[in-house]
């Protein structure tokens, strides 16, 4: 036997080996594929396969990883293993179902969740000072019929107090007009509080208040007089502040 012949022989044996392995890997892949189908189908239908059956299936594909070439084949292999795991879980839970009543299992689960809880710490109960407990409820009194006339008289006398105020909406122009009027009425003059109350209406007083806060007009109290002037030196008044409450007579 020449060297040439021997090398030929080794080459041919290698090729047969490769052919065999490629055949073998095809068979293995076929088995993997079929088993994967079988398990995913049974899992979908929630059919439990026996322990022995699962175990023989697992043994059939134990060495399969050695013959896997492509990524697709590896994916099928891992999918099958996931199928095995899920099947084992399904089997366990089905055994548990047979062993324990549903309520018992739920109770156990609830207990488990309760145990895993690391609760927030707080003091129970309501605050000791409760505003709702203070007796602020309006009390109704029975009116004796003889007093009715008196009440009517009282209402007539105090109609102004009992009247519901209507809110007036002023446009920007209205406000400017009021401000102009107020300048004319008040600027560089001095008034007593009562005089002002008779002179101004409710709306005018509101606007005067706004003007003072916006520093459009300056008011200084001198004795019992209120002196109005235009933009004076505010710095000299800094830190001095007082308020005068006006209750205008006009509406």
């Amino acid at each position: 036997m020449t060297d040439q012949e021997s090398t030929d022989e080794t080459n041919s044996s290698e090729t047969t080996m490769i052919e065999e392995t490629s055949d073998w890997s095809e068979i293995i892949f076929q088995t993997l594929f079929e088993l994967e189908k079988k398990y995913s189908k049974s899992l979908r239908k929630k059919e439990v396969l026996g322990v022995i059956e699962s175990e023989t299936d697992r043994k059939r594909v134990t060495d399969a990883y050695m013959y896997l070439n492509s990524q697709r084949e590896s994916l099928v292999d891992s999918a099958l293993y996931e199928g095995f795991i899920n099947m084992s879980e399904l089997r366990e839970s089905s055994y548990l179902e047979q062993m324990f009543l549903l309520e018992q299992r739920l109770n156990n689960f609830g207990q488990f969740v309760a145990k895993a809880c690391q609760s927030i710490f707080f003091t129970m109960g309501k605050p000791t000072i409760e505003y709702s407990n203070v007796d602020f409820d309006a009390k109704t009194e029975l009116i004796v019929s003889e007093d009715r006339d008196e009440i009517k008289l009282f209402i007539r006398k105090n109609q102004d107090v009992l009247r519901v105020f209507e809110s007036t909406l002023l446009s920007y122009g209205d406000i400017l007009n009021y401000e102009k009027d107020l300048f004319e009425k008040l600027l560089d003059k001095k008034f007593k509080k009562k005089e002002l109350e008779n002179l101004l209406s409710v709306v005018e007083t509101e606007i005067l208040s706004k003007m003072i806060s916006e520093k459009k007009i300056r008011v200084v109290q001198q004795g019992e007089y209120l002196v109005f002037s235009k933009n004076g030196d505010y710095e000299e008044l800094e830190g001095i502040s007082s308020s005068v409450l006006l209750s205008p007579k006009k509406n």
């Binding site: 549903l102 689960f109 309760a114 003091t123």
Partner: protein
């Protein structure tokens, strides 16, 4: 005399080592502050119809008039203080604000009933395993359609869990609220999900 001075210096040095807070806060003030912190952090309030615990950082800043760094420093000190009592200071976020409250380091009785724990466990079990939004319908499917619980029971539990700050309900989508995340760590939630698969 010299020895005395040295001793005094040592005492002073010791003191400066012990006092870690800004010099403006004396030990007496600090103990008063810790008492007040314990009271405020163990309170329960109602905010937007949901129970919240402890106090927000902004409220603490307003009440103490500290700057943020001083407040955080004090809370760090306070954490070490309550650790001895078996408590933990927890931080959680609520509507963008940071809140502080106390949590038991070991075990504290919970207010929830067994049925509420079951519903909460189911929600955790599903939320931990799925990625999409969790609809109320799915909880009902899991618990009512399989005859595990009654429909009114599940509704009641969901309402209480929402009120207690465990879950948020936006239309029909359920998600975790701050309390689940505070009381159940990531590991616990994963364990619950595993248990849930078994039932």
């Amino acid at each position: 005399m010299e020895e005395k001075f040295q001793n005094n210096d040592e005492v002073l040095n010791d003191k400066t080592e012990i006092v870690k807070l800004p010099a403006a806060i004396t030990d007496e003030e600090k103990s008063e502050l810790f008492k007040e912190l314990t009271t405020i952090l163990s309170r329960r309030w109602v905010k937007n119809k949901i129970f919240v615990f402890g106090s927000s950082e902004i409220d603490l800043l307003l009440a103490t008039r500290f700057d943020i760094d001083t407040l955080r420093e004090i809370i760090e000190e306070y954490k070490r203080f309550v650790e001895i009592l078996g408590l933990e200071v927890v931080e959680y976020t609520l509507d963008g604000d940071t809140w502080y409250s106390l949590k038991s380091a070991f075990y504290a009785p919970s207010e929830l009933l067994k049925s509420e724990f079951i519903v909460l466990g189911t929600i955790i079990g599903i939320l931990e395993t799925q990625t999409g939004p969790l609809l109320t319908k799915k909880i009902k499917e899991k618990l009512i359609d399989t005859n595990r619980m009654k429909a009114y029971q599940v509704d009641l539990c969901l309402r209480k869990l929402t009120q207690q700050g465990y879950i948020k309900r936006h239309q029909n989508v359920l998600s975790y609220n701050y309390r689940t995340l505070v009381e159940y760590g990531e590991k616990e939630r994963r364990k619950i999900a595993e248990e849930f698969r078994k039932i």
